[in-house]
Amino acid sequence: MSEVLGLWNYWVVIVLMMIGLYIMIARDSLVKKVMGLNIFQVSVIMFYVSMGKVRGGTAPILPEGGAEGVLFSNPLPHVLMLTAIVVGIATTALALALVVRIKEAYGTIEEDEIHALAGGDGMDGRSAVQGEAE
């Protein structure tokens, strides 16, 4: 039984990833899709960081008076993931900026409505919305 229980961290990460993926596939609201992408991203980060954990280890910071006999968790996933978080917020901002522009062009952020308006040709949809507004 303990053979399998030691893998719980991966399973939690997988469930989180499934929730994020479901939001991205099933929901039509573009803002909601970006939220799903964020949950997906946290699950990937959690995956890396949980692999870096060493049982009985401590944060990878050398204590005063030498590191003799001190067990550290793996610092490499921490480095990669902390930069990934900051890059993630920058790309999230870019995605949200695109959503704002889509809303201004089409008047909606629901994916199915945008598809209906665009009708295969993006510019037609745009002029249709503007025509309605006038």
Partner: protein, 341 residues
């Protein structure tokens, strides 16, 4: 095998994620993503990733929630209800099942003999004391061993904020509202009238900035560094803007300053590498900065590089906020100034 605190936090995390999935009120969902980030920051701390936890708390619970709320103000507060379909759920369950099968031969949680721990990591940990004399191993790996990666990521942040500026054009003035030189959004005016919010934030903002500077300059010794400091200081400035309005904030921190700052940060990072090239070393090899004491040279190099990252990230966060808030103000003024005529 007992990790009670982590298990409880994980259950909370899953519950929050499910709530985000089920909520149709996007405003509430945005607030839940803030809680989600805070919970994951707690989990990162328990997994010894203090630097990651720092970043996630400042980014997820601070900056990204503000960005989501600004987007909602510009788009829609609720999402439309759709009939439930089985296909996405089946697809997701299938993906999850495949991944669970894939984990069956993975190393267990916390296993010190896992492959991830036996290759480069011991070398990085040993090198921290031997080559650098800098206690925070994460800072060493970030700025020196993996300096190329970090440079690339700083450039990605630079590019993304340029993209946001191009898309939302924070400087563009729409025709119409020119007769109103200082635009004060109603929302900001009301925020300022809340005495508790105003007084508390005035007390807290200087402390957050001070803490950000501590995180920046003490990042060699304790948890911290340029990325964390950048988002913390950025969050403090954004809080000021939320309470006192964008136009007040832009008088304190004008956007040309930020545009220069973000480029300067990337330039400082790249320039440190070029300097090490000119002094006869490899790109981003800081040992050449002090020929007598390579440890001291590396320390100096890391300080410069982290400084560049800190400046770039702070300016990028504030500029992104300016772009979103400026868009909302421009639209408000456009509507009020008879834009519909």
């Amino acid at each position: 095998m007992d990790f009670p605190v982590e298990v409880i936090l994980f259950l909370f995390l899953l519950a929050t994620a499910l709530t985000v999935a089920l909520l149709e009120d996007l405003f509430a969902a945005a607030m839940m993503t803030g809680i989600f980030s805070l919970l994951s920051a707690c989990l990162f701390t328990l997994m010894d990733a203090v630097d990651v936890a720092f970043t996630e708390a400042a980014v997820g619970a601070g900056v990204s929630t503000v960005l989501f709320l600004s987007t909602l103000a510009l788009t829609a507060q609720r999402e439309k209800q759709h009939p439930f379909t089985w296909f996405p759920l089946l697809l997701v369950i299938l993906t999850g099942a495949c991944l669970v099968t894939g984990t069956l031969d993975m190393p267990h949680y916390g296993d010190p003999k896992a492959p991830i721990h036996v290759h480069v990591a011991p070398e990085y940990i040993a090198g921290a004391e031997r080559d650098f004399g800098i206690p925070n191993i994460v800072t060493n790996v970030l700025a020196s061993y993996r300096g190329y990666d970090t440079f690339g990521e700083t450039v990605v942040i630079f590019t993304a904020s340029v993209g946001v500026m191009l898309l939302l054009g924070h400087r563009r003035r729409r025709p119409g509202p020119a007769h109103r030189p200082t635009i004060t959004p109603e929302g900001a005016a009301r925020m300022r009238d809340f005495a508790i919010v105003r007084v508390v934030s005035m007390g807290v903002i200087p402390l957050i900035v001070l803490f950000g500077l501590y995180v920046q300059f003490h990042g060699d010794f304790g948890p911290g560094g340029g990325f964390q400091a950048g988002v913390i200081i950025g969050a403090a400035v954004i809080l000021y803007g939320l309470i006192f309005g964008l136009s007040t904030l832009q008088r304190v921190v004008p956007s040309p300053l930020l545009e220069t700052g973000i480029a300067l940060g990337v330039l400082l990072y790249g320039g440190t590498g070029v300097a090490s090239l000119l002094m006869g070393g490899h790109y981003l090899d800081y040992a050449v900065f002090d020929s007598d004491d390579p440890k001291h040279g590396r320390h100096l190099g890391i300080l410069l590089v982290e400084g560049g990252v800190g400046i770039a990230v702070t300016c990028a966060m504030i500029l992104i906020f300016y772009s979103f808030a400026g868009r909302a103000l421009a639209r408000e003024a456009f509507d009020e100034g008879g834009g519909g005529q």
